[in-house]
Amino acid sequence: MHPILKLLVQRIALGLLLLFAVSAVIFLGVEALPGNTAQAILGQSATPQAVANLEAKLGLDQPPLTRYFSWLGGILTGDLGKALTNGADIAQSIGQRLGNTLFLAGCAAAIAVPLAIILGLVAARYAGKWPDKVISGITLSTISLPEFVAAYFVIYLLTQLFPIFQPVAMVFPGMGFWAKLHAVALPVIVLVLVVLAHMMRMTRAAILNVMQSAYVETAELKGLSPMTIIWRHAFPNAIAPVVAVVMLNLAYLVVGVVVVEVVFGYNALGQYLVDHVTKRDLPVVQAVGLIFAAVYIFLNMAADIIGILANPRLRHPK
């Protein structure tokens, strides 16, 4: 077996194992929450008999281990259960919102990742000179702004001063691609501003680290231009750390953007989760939590795998 294949299988198996462990932690965490779901649904005035009846109906009277495995079994067959509060099928509710979440994250990533890497390369090329300082200054100030401040600033700028976009990012099924794109423009801008700095700084640092290598001096003594040296000789050796940070930011774009969703009234997973946390709708919280965990694990695994594939020593063993 090719050693790289072995490494990949190992990584994927580890990812699945981790996901399994995380599912147990999520379940335990939700179990450990104080209070009683049936009581919460029925209100303070409910009789003990009514509470007991509802618990039996929801299956909450079963021992935790049984409930965990029936939940896990449901997930594996695509059944995430029903929301306690309104009886809606969770898988269905999540499906559409997950699409919205991924659309928003995808648009933001499609702009932020290439932009951050290009800015990082330029900053490394002019390290310590004014282009570097300008790039670092701007990206560091945007990352320092709280998201909602950035959001309101962008809304003020692009809907009031220059009325190009609508302040509310309403999307609905059946909307055309370009209309959707126009609708999410503002949250995408905010998210790009938020994630840019981290990836840019990492690219710059990784490139500068590689620039100390003897082979970069060799490239200089070959009379290559600085940008050629960075692009052809430094960047291929800086991919692994850059990808790791890119993946962390992608994960953030999927799971961490509830504030932006709320500000722009964008109907996606973050809002859905927060709504149901306040209503103590535990099956929904569990399901969304597991999806978020899966996204994190998958993206980090992808970073690992790309790092392995980018290493010529592993790709081409002796």
Binding site: Y215, E217, T218, L221, K222, G223, L224, N237, H316
Partner: protein, 545 residues
């Protein structure tokens, strides 16, 4: 003929900014007005110790200053054009086209993420010297000329897939591919094993001759440069000491400093008579954890008290692994180590404090073997505290005694390692080992990173200390001149096994086994035509087989 003048350097001054610890930065002059002329097709050797400015001068032929080095004065004319003051664009146009560079460490100088062929032909394409097909054909021809295996497919490989000696040759091919006028060879064989060095040296020499290229050949090893250079310039502290033909420099040096360089390998040491051993290694076999390959195979050696056993071999032969096995850092899988009459635990964890104290180590890289944030006094004082519980004034007095022993005198205890020269750092490491009052010191390539004259001083010091304190040395080295200078007994290692072992006079006397013969005959000798003689001898021998 004036037309033949390729490189004409006049009054070259090179400066840099130094950052001494605890002091404000200051300007230092590395090269003080050196003149240098090189005709087309000639090879000039630049020789000197580290700090002589030889690499700095060599790189100035590309108007390149490594690190913060600045070319501040004089003129550098290449092909009739002044290049010292040329702009970046003009420099890029000539680097990699008119002048190319071969570095000491080809392993670090190749981009690990790119195939060799892509890197070898890169300048030929980027400077528009030839098309891709032509460049690849030329590269393959150069691979063949330089004796690389499978020259037609060699370029498909990545740097990590070929050996250090092959990379050094590939870098030579990379330098020659764009048909430059001048190649700078910067210690191209210094990092190689002696048996590999001779092949690479022969390949480089032949390639220089066949391509009619001019070269600056930089090295600290006079015997090596004598094989390839037409003329030699001796440098010291950024100034020229002597310039002459290779024959004149080797056989009739005019300056004292040159004479010292020529005679540096003449240190002799009379072998001591056999005596009862302090260290006995019996049938030791060892492997690294998680592998199924023995890196030490049934090794047995004895080392008498107060004597020196030299362990010689190429890199990967198991020399340093033997040291790790003796110290217990790599517990042997079988075999026994007896020291001062008692059997030592195989694993370092099972050894007593006295066991640990009586075996000390000195390493090749004195730099990395000391904590840069501790003073010399703290470094040497630590074993005094740890093993003998010395404190305060008593400890300081003993530290000074040790400093006197290593001939460093007063004032050094307060200094930091960064304020010391390479030789002084190694002396401090020796003092630290001595502080433990050991019966055995394992010296792992302790002079390999040092200049010949400095290394000579360290060897003399070690011999004096042995006479005073009767300590035994296990001296690991790949340098046979060092072996002659210091050893009483010799063990030759090859692929994890001892292939030849005994008193120095026996080991270094014929008849030799094949490997020892190869090793001994590969050591460059300071005479003209040595390289050709050895290569011819080997050709005859292999034809005879």
């Amino acid at each position: 003929m004036a037309d033949d003048l390729l490189l004409d350097i006049k009054g070259l001054v090179i400066e840099a900014t130094a950052y001494p610890p605890g002091e404000p930065p200051k300007e230092v002059t590395l090269v003080h007005g050196v003149d240098l002329q090189l005709q087309r097709g000639r090879v000039l050797g630049l020789i000197g110790e580290s700090g002589a400015g030889k690499s700095t001068i060599g790189l100035s032929a590309m108007a390149y200053g490594r690190g913060g080095v600045r070319l501040t004065g004089g003129t550098i004319r290449l092909n009739g054009r002044e290049i010292r003051t040329a702009g970046p664009q003009a420099l890029r146009a000539l680097r990699g086209k008119e002048v190319t560079y071969v570095s000491q460490s080809a392993a670090a100088s190749f981009n690990p993420a790119k195939r060799l062929m892509e890197q070898v032909i890169e300048t030929s394409l980027s400077h528009g010297i030839m098309g891709k097909a032509e460049a690849e054909a030329r590269a393959r021809a150069l691979f063949r000329k330089l004796g690389l295996p499978n020259p037609d497919t060699f370029g498909e490989r990545y740097p990590h897939q070929v050996s250090g000696g092959q990379l050094q040759r590939a870098m030579t091919a990379m330098a020659l591919c764009p048909k430059p006028d001048l190649v700078i060879f910067d210690e191209p064989t210094t990092a190689l094993d002696v048996t590999t060095q001779i092949d690479v040296l022969a390949a480089i020499k032949e390639a220089i001759r066949d391509t009619q290229v001019a070269a600056l050949y930089i090295t600290h090893d006079l015997a090596v440069v004598a094989q390839v250079a037409d003329d030699i310039m001796v440098l010291r502290h950024g100034r020229m000491v002597e310039l002459g033909t290779t024959d004149q420099i080797i056989n009739a040096p005019r300056e004292d400093y040159t004479r010292a360089l020529v005679s540096v390998r003449s240190l002799e040491h009379a072998e001591k008579t056999p005596a009862p051993p302090v260290l006995q290694v019996a049938n030791v076999t060892a492997r690294y954890r998680g592998t199924n390959f023995d890196v030490l195979k049934n090794v047995s050696i004895d080392l008498p008290a107060g004597q020196t056993l030299a362990v010689v071999g190429e890199s990967g032969s198991g020399k340093s692994t033997l040291a790790r096995a003796i110290t217990g850092l790599l517990p042997p899988t079988s075999g026994r180590i007896t020291f001062a009459g008692r059997v030592l635990s195989n694993d370092v964890k099972g050894r007593s404090k006295d066991d640990l104290r009586e075996i000390q180590m000195i390493y090749q890289m004195a730099d990395t073997a000391m904590n840069p944030r501790q003073t010399v006094g703290t470094i040497i004082g630590r074993p005094l505290e740890f093993y003998f519980g010395l404190k305060g004034a008593e400890r300081d007095r003993r530290v000074q005694e040790l400093l006197d022993q290593i001939e460093m005198g007063k004032g050094f205890a307060q200094r930091y390692p960064a304020e010391l020269s390479g030789g002084q750092k190694q002396r401090v490491c020796i003092a630290r080992a001595l502080a433990a009052k050991p019966k055995l010191i394992i010296c792992d390539e302790v002079t390999s990173a040092l200049d010949p004259l400095v290394a000579d001083g360290i060897l003399k010091l070690l011999l004096n200390l042995q006479a005073e304190s009767h300590v035994a040395y296990l001296f690991i080295t790949h340098d046979l001149a060092t072996v002659r200078a210091i050893s009483d007994k010799i063990a030759v290692m090859f692929k994890g096994a001892v292939v030849r072992y005994g008193q120095k006079s026996d080991v270094l006397a014929p008849p030799y086994d094949d490997y020892t013969d190869l090793l001994l005959s590969s050591v460059p000798e300071m005479e003209l035509g040595w390289l050709e003689r050895v290569i011819e001898h080997r050709r005859m021998a292999s034809a005879g087989n």
